[in-house]
């Protein structure tokens, strides 16, 4: 009987081709949209994690409360000891120091006059120590447009747009003007070792990147740090892994009333990222639900039309003594078979689509020119294992559901009236 059904499906193109096309389109669209959305959201989260939030971040309570103002006067103190404790308590987590600072960059013209000035968003990280992993984490080397990474004190990278705007060349000296953590004025000259483009307009427009040791000296922040970022070993944020670490760390300081006591915050609780994370799950579920509903409706109608077209066949089969229940079941078996074929083709096409989106992405650089959002200019899809089933199962389900609904119409008719309608 299975061979009989299979031959019927393969022989009758109208019975199989249209549903397979519908399933294929639906499944591939679901996979491409899900993969793309997850990629974009994942990139944004990853970007935030690498540049700003870490998978978890430790700040002083006072700093955390005002972190938007980059209040280095409220920085975390006793960093060396804290880091030793963290390494001992959470040996698998990689901890890195970051200092963010604001100020003014002045470009002298060589005659003690100013060639140009601009506000700078400074970022200090452990560049000189290759074991810190900051170069790879921040894609520093690959983001350099001209020049090289700072390799010695008093060298700096500046954002390429910033450099262009102020006409800064590699090897030029620029002067930073700002305030220390104690509130006094500070001035320091840096040699521009390179220009950098992060692919984020917010950073490229005014960034200056220096080594953390320079920043500590510049800002009087010995044994202090604005933010200490922690990264999970796999490099991928996992809320379930981070939450207990945050909970246990903060519990240790629960009875400490010092406003400078350290406080740990998970990625999802920073920069509104919890909404992003929830949105990723929400949209993924929404896509699947819409897909199943829409496909079921289409396939229901396709099934009804197919059923009408096959009235003659059903009539013959009834007359030959096939029970109605058996006919109904064979319709479902056919639906499963067609659903599987369509879902496999759709999944394959969808995965190729996601792969291409992951490799080439969609460049929205022109749209982001004036944006201050921290997000990449090339939005890419992401190939994840769940894409293997996220379209497949709904595709199969929609086909079976559509055929079950249309089949009921046939099943409910009395044999005689169905037979009469068949005009056999």
């Amino acid at each position: 009987m299975i061979k009989f059904l299979l031959k019927g499906i393969l022989g009758d193109k109208n019975r199989s081709v249209l549903p397979i096309i519908i399933i294929t389109i639906g499944v591939s669209l679901t996979i491409i949209l899900s993969g793309y959305m997850r990629g974009v959201m994942g990139d944004m989260i990853d970007q935030n994690a690498r540049f700003d939030t870490g998978h978890m971040k430790i700040m002083s309570r006072a700093y955390a409360e005002n972190k938007a103002q980059l209040p280095n006067d409220l920085a975390l103190l006793g960093v060396a000891q804290l880091k030793e404790e963290l390494k001992s308590d959470y040996p698998e987590i990689k901890w890195v120091d970051r200092i963010k600072f604001g100020g003014l960059i002045d470009v002298p013209d060589g005659e003690n006059a100013s060639k140009g000035q601009g506000p700078a968003a400074g970022m200090a990280m452990d560049i000189f120590n290759p074991e810190s992993g900051e170069d790879a984490r921040m894609n520093l080397t690959s983001s350099i447009v001209k020049g090289r990474l700072p390799s010695k004190p008093r060298e700096a990278l500046v954002g390429s747009d910033f450099a262009e705007k102020l006409n800064i060349k590699i090897g030029d000296e620029v002067t930073y003007m700002g305030t220390t953590m104690n509130g006094s004025m500070t001035f320091e000259n840096f040699i521009v070792s390179g220009t950098i483009r992060f692919g984020m307009p917010a950073m490229d427009k005014g960034a200056i990147v220096i080594d953390i040791s320079d920043a500590r000296q510049l800002l009087d922040m010995e044994d202090a740090v604005g933010e200490m970022l922690g990264y999970l070993p796999g490099g991928v944020y996992d809320d379930e892994e981070v939450a207990p670490i945050v909970k246990s760390f903060n519990a240790r300081y629960a009875n400490d009333t010092d406003e400078y006591a350290p406080e740990m915050v998970a990625l999802r609780d920073q920069n509104g990222l919890s909404s992003y994370l929830d949105m990723v799950d929400y949209f993924a579920a929404l896509f699947v639900a819409i897909f199943v509903f829409a496909m079921s409706m289409v396939l229901w109608n396709t099934g009804l039309l197919g059923g009408l077209r096959r009235y003659q066949e059903f009539g013959i089969r009834l007359a030959l003594g096939e029970p109605k229940g058996h006919i109904y079941r064979t319709l479902i078996y056919e639906a499963i078979l067609i659903g599987i074929i369509g879902s496999i083709i759709g999944t394959a096409i969808g995965l190729v689509g996601v792969y291409l989106l992951q490799k080439y992405g969609i460049n929205i650089g022109d749209l982001m020119k004036d944006s201050s959002m921290m997000m990449p200019t090339v939005l890419r899809g992401k190939f994840t294992p769940e894409l293997l089933y996220i379209g497949f199962i709904p595709g199969l389900f929609a086909m079976v559901l559509g055929n079950m609904l249309s089949g009921i119409g046939i099943y409910k008719r009395s044999t005689a009236s169905l037979f009469k309608e068949l005009e056999v």
């Binding site: 031959k7 022989g11 009539g315 003594g321 029970p323 044999t415 037979f419």
Partner: protein, 235 residues
């Protein structure tokens, strides 16, 4: 002693029409014995097809009793009705109603699939049936490649392959020319004689009537004449 395989007692069939009912059969009393070659004749709307549907367990009487192979049609479940049709009743239709996707062999084989015969048994039974109707060399063809006469022969083979006790034929020659109609009717008559299958026709066709041993005239849902006749054509 002859054996009744269909017994209809005061069969009434009503169909709902609007707020009321249309009575298609008004108290039919008929009996068919094994091996009969009988026909229901009468104008359109006289109840021939409705009666054939009840005898084929495709429909149940509203009143009265219809016993087919000793089973009361009105009391059978869908599944039991299907089993009765599958094991004991063959249908031949006005249009041949072959499934276009399948070959001649597969069209004939279908009802055997429902009976769970082995592949070897099915092959033998199908080839025997095709041989009975003289188209064993067309087994691999698709229905679209057959002539009208050949198509109806396949339909007869399909009805006969499971060796049913009863074959119900609704206007089987309506779409055939005279030559093919006679050929088909001769084949059916031959099978009736050789296998003892009971044939009941619904027909307007005088050619069919020429082969019948019994003619039952229906009019307005009633049997107006039921006579045993001398068949004009023999095999």
């Amino acid at each position: 002693m002859s054996e009744n395989i269909i017994s209809l007692k005061n069969v009434v069939k009503k169909f709902p029409v609007g707020d009321g009912f249309f009575t298609a059969l008004k108290g039919i009393d008929l009996e068919f014995e094994k091996g009969e070659f009988a026909g229901l004749i009468g104008p359109s709307g006289s109840g021939k097809t409705t009666l054939l549907n009840i005898m084929g367990s495709l429909d149940a009487p509203t009143e009265g009793q219809a016993l087919v192979m000793g089973k009361d049609i009105a009391t059978l479940s869908h599944k039991q009705s299907a089993l009765l049709r599958n094991m004991h009743i063959g249908f031949v239709f006005q249009v041949y109603n072959l499934l276009p996707v399948y070959t001649v062999f597969e069209n004939v084989e279908f009802s055997l699939l429902l009976q769970n015969h082995t592949a070897a048994e099915r092959k033998k039974m199908v080839m025997d049936a095709l041989e009975w109707v003289g188209i064993e060399n067309q087994a691999d063809k698709k229905p679209a490649k057959l002539s009208g006469g050949e198509g109806q022969r396949v339909a007869i083979a399909r009805a006969m392959v499971k060796r049913p006790e009863i074959v119900l034929a609704d206007e089987p020659t309506a779409n055939l020319d005279a030559k093919n109609a006679h050929a088909i009717l001769k084949t059916m008559k031959q099978l009736n004689k050789e296998l003892g299958t009971t044939f009941v026709f619904s027909t307007h066709d005088e050619k069919v009537m020429g082969y019948l041993d019994r003619i039952i005239s229906l009019e307005d849902g009633k049997v107006v004449k039921d006579e045993v006749v001398e068949a004009q054509y023999t095999v």
